[in-house]
């Protein structure tokens, strides 16, 4: 039973085994270390300074912040230039009362895309 005399069946199996053994599912790895607003925090009405700090250096020009309003509307935020390598900052216009979500997507410098939502309230 030498490797060189693999039958067709065993060959096909070895090949399909390799294909099936491929990894399943994925995760990127830039995650939020701290944020303002924090998850579930309630802030006062008016303009809001947003600061997200990640566990790794991020590519600012290929990262995005979006605010989802209580009425379903979306507001794309422009990242404040000059933030530190692991931070994404932005200023939001006056926010009305209700439940908001801050949607973020970042590209870490090693090429992983990560995204998530931070729900917060405005009173």
């Amino acid at each position: 039973m030498k490797m060189g005399r693999f039958t067709g069946v065993a060959r096909a199996c070895a090949f399909s085994a390799l294909l099936l053994a491929l990894p399943h599912g994925a995760s990127g790895h830039a995650i939020i270390v701290s944020s303002s607003p924090a998850t579930g925090e309630t802030v006062a009405e008016g303009p809001l300074s947003i600061h997200l700090r990640f566990n790794s250096r991020i590519d600012h020009s290929r990262s995005r912040l979006t605010l989802l309003a209580p009425d379903g509307g979306q507001q794309a935020l422009i990242a404040t230039p000059g933030s530190s390598a692991d931070q994404l900052d932005a200023e939001a216009k006056a926010l009305s009362a209700g439940q908001w979500r801050l949607r973020w997507q970042v590209l870490s410098v090693d090429g992983h895309i990560t995204r998530g939502d931070i729900p917060f309230g405005v009173r």
Binding site: H29, S35, D59, G111, I113
Partner: protein, 551 residues
């Protein structure tokens, strides 16, 4: 584009795994050529010419695969950015990862082109330079590159780790080709001794680099069992220990060859085959690991030791009664889930495009899943027991154990999709509209076919030939699948606990698969020892399945 975004996460880890395999085979092939084959070429006998040509072909194909896979990874990442951020293709591809991938693609392509033909000193130097440049650039795509602290030491450690894995695991195909192709005892002895030395140096580099990264990325003892990253590192360590045991046995074989070049090499060859199989599993596990956030960064929602002990503590009896008839237990279970959820501090959730939404599970869902796992445990226990009984003169009848797979397939057909026929309201043909149900049905057919196939192998005995290798390959493949399944990016306790139980399952599966491989591929005492190991590993899998709980 939306479909692509849905499968992006899956595809990116697939590509990462394949890239690591191709990269390791390229680095290993080159090291084998430069440190072993070229220096010895003049001293080797005539049949080595054909082997040399085969080695170069495998090396060239690995490099070409590395190049193509890296280009595919670049296109995939760029497409994900274009699809999610509304940026141009040029903007997406000019990100740091795009530039790094471009350099690696070009270097690997250059290696593939230059691999053929005679290797002058200049060509060998150029190949080495291209490989080192590609490896150095690959480091830009690792955790180390994006760290804020201690970046250079971590880059260096990662480089050592990848180089060590390349020379050792990536060199195994070349070593196997050389052992199989060279028929002179002296040639084999010379090759084995040099490769043994190369492996020892490579293993030292791999362990040194791995240890530095483990310390930096785990940060504390608690992160080893409290985070998905830690659990995967632990799995890699166990696989490494398996590899080192095999390597140790091979070292003894090489020493025997040194003393007497005519000593048999069959065991060495077979152990190298298994080393290669487990090595591939480690590389795929590594791909899964590189896509996880380091444990040191996940300080919230870690698993505590009492939580793990509480989950792993055996509960008797297993859930062998379907949830529909088990209402009382379910209500108790629901109370425990609610209590566990109340305890969980919520870290900011994170995902990658295509990860999907984790649906909430109630007690009935969990009871249903536990029931399925526990019955699967009984089937696997039956297989292991019958395979053990088969060893005895009075237990010849037990060789029909593959038929248990048919019963298992029937069980899964009924239980896997509770909404579909025969249990649910959705008709048999109608249920195929759901891709998940269709996928389950395909797997069920495969399990049944696998059972029938292995049954035929048992009936044919020695005459089954290489068809018998299907069973160990598929078992090892299942183990690799379990080790590379998806992870929660943030610490989601329930998912972590499930992962915690699946990891030992995978390790037992790998042991069973490769022990069976050795039983089939080796004669005599080693084969007999292996024939006892794999049924015992199956029994361990069964015990783990019977102890499986989701709350």
């Amino acid at each position: 584009m939306s479909l692509f975004i849905d499968i992006f996460g899956y595809l990116s880890v697939v590509l990462r795994g394949l890239i690591l395999v191709a990269q390791s085979f390229t680095l290993g092939g080159l090291a084998f050529q430069l440190l072993l084959w070229r220096p010895f070429q003049r001293q080797l006998s005539a049949d080595s010419t054909a082997v040399g040509s085969r080695l170069k072909t495998v090396f060239g194909v690995s490099a070409l695969a590395w190049s193509l896979l890296t280009a595919a990874a670049m296109a995939l990442n760029a497409a994900a950015l274009v699809g999610t951020l509304d940026v141009s293709w040029g903007d997406a591809a000019s990100a740091d990862f795009g530039r790094a991938d471009l350099v690696i693609t070009a270097c690997a392509l250059g290696i593939a082109v230059m691999a053929k033909g005679p290797w002058t000193r200049l060509r060998a130097g150029a190949l080495l330079a291209l490989a080192l440049l590609a490896l150095g650039t690959q480091l830009e795509l690792t955790h180390a590159a994006s760290r804020l602290d201690a970046r250079w030491p971590l880059l260096l450690a990662d480089g050592l780790h990848m180089l060590g894995a390349g020379v050792w695991i990536g060199g195994l195909p070349s070593f196997l080709i050389a052992l199989n192709g060279c028929h002179q005892a002296k040639d084999r002895s010379r090759i084995a001794q040099r490769y043994s030395l190369m492996s020892m140096v490579a293993v030292t580099a791999l362990i040194l680099g791995g240890a530095i990264m483990a310390f930096a990325y785990l940060g504390s003892f608690e992160a080893i069992y409290g985070t998905a990253y830690g659990v995967m590192v632990l799995a890699k360590i166990v696989l490494l220990l398996m590899l080192l045991t095999l390597g140790g046995c091979n070292y003894l074989s090489v020493q025997a060859l040194h003393r007497d070049p005519t000593a048999p090499v069959l065991r060495l060859k077979r152990f190298v085959e298994v080393e290669l199989g487990i090595g591939l599993t480690v590389l795929l596990t590594a791909a899964s690991l590189t896509s996880l956030p380091p444990g040191v960064d996940l300080s919230q929602d870690r698993l505590s030791w009492p939580e793990i002990v509480e989950r792993a503590a055996p509960e008797w009896p297993p859930r062998l009664v379907s949830p529909d008839h088990d209402r009382l237990t379910i209500s108790l279970l629901q109370a425990r889930i609610a209590a566990a959820e109340a305890q969980q501090t919520r870290a900011p959730p994170a995902s990658v495009p295509g990860d999907g939404v984790i649906l909430p599970r109630n007690a009935e869902d969990i009871a249903w899943s536990e029931y399925n796992h526990h019955w699967a445990g009984i089937f696997v226990a039956l297989i292991g027991l019958l395979a053990l009984i088969e060893h005895f003169w009075w237990g010849r009848w037990a060789r029909h154990w593959p038929l248990v797979f048919l019963v298992m397939a029937a069980f899964l057909f009924v239980r896997a999709d509770e909404q579909a026929w025969p249990l649910g309201p959705i008709g048999f043909f109608e249920s195929f509209r759901d891709p998940e149900v269709a996928q389950h049905r395909v797997f069920i057919v495969l399990i049944a076919a696998f059972g029938l196939f292995e049954w035929r192998v048992r009936l044919n005995g020695e005459r089954a030939g290489n068809a018998a290798l299907v069973f160990p390959l598929v078992t090892a493949l299942g183990a690799a699948l379990l080790l590379t399944h998806s992870h929660a990016i943030a610490n989601i306790k329930e998912q972590l606990l499930v992962e915690m139980s699946h990891t030992p399952l995978a390790l037992c599966g790998a042991t069973a698969g490769w022990a069976r491989w050795l039983q089939l591929r080796l004669p005599g005492r080693m084969s007999r020892i292996a024939s006892w190991i794999w049924p015992v590993a199956f029994l361990l899998v069964a015990l783990l399945l019977l102890d499986y709980r989701e709350a």
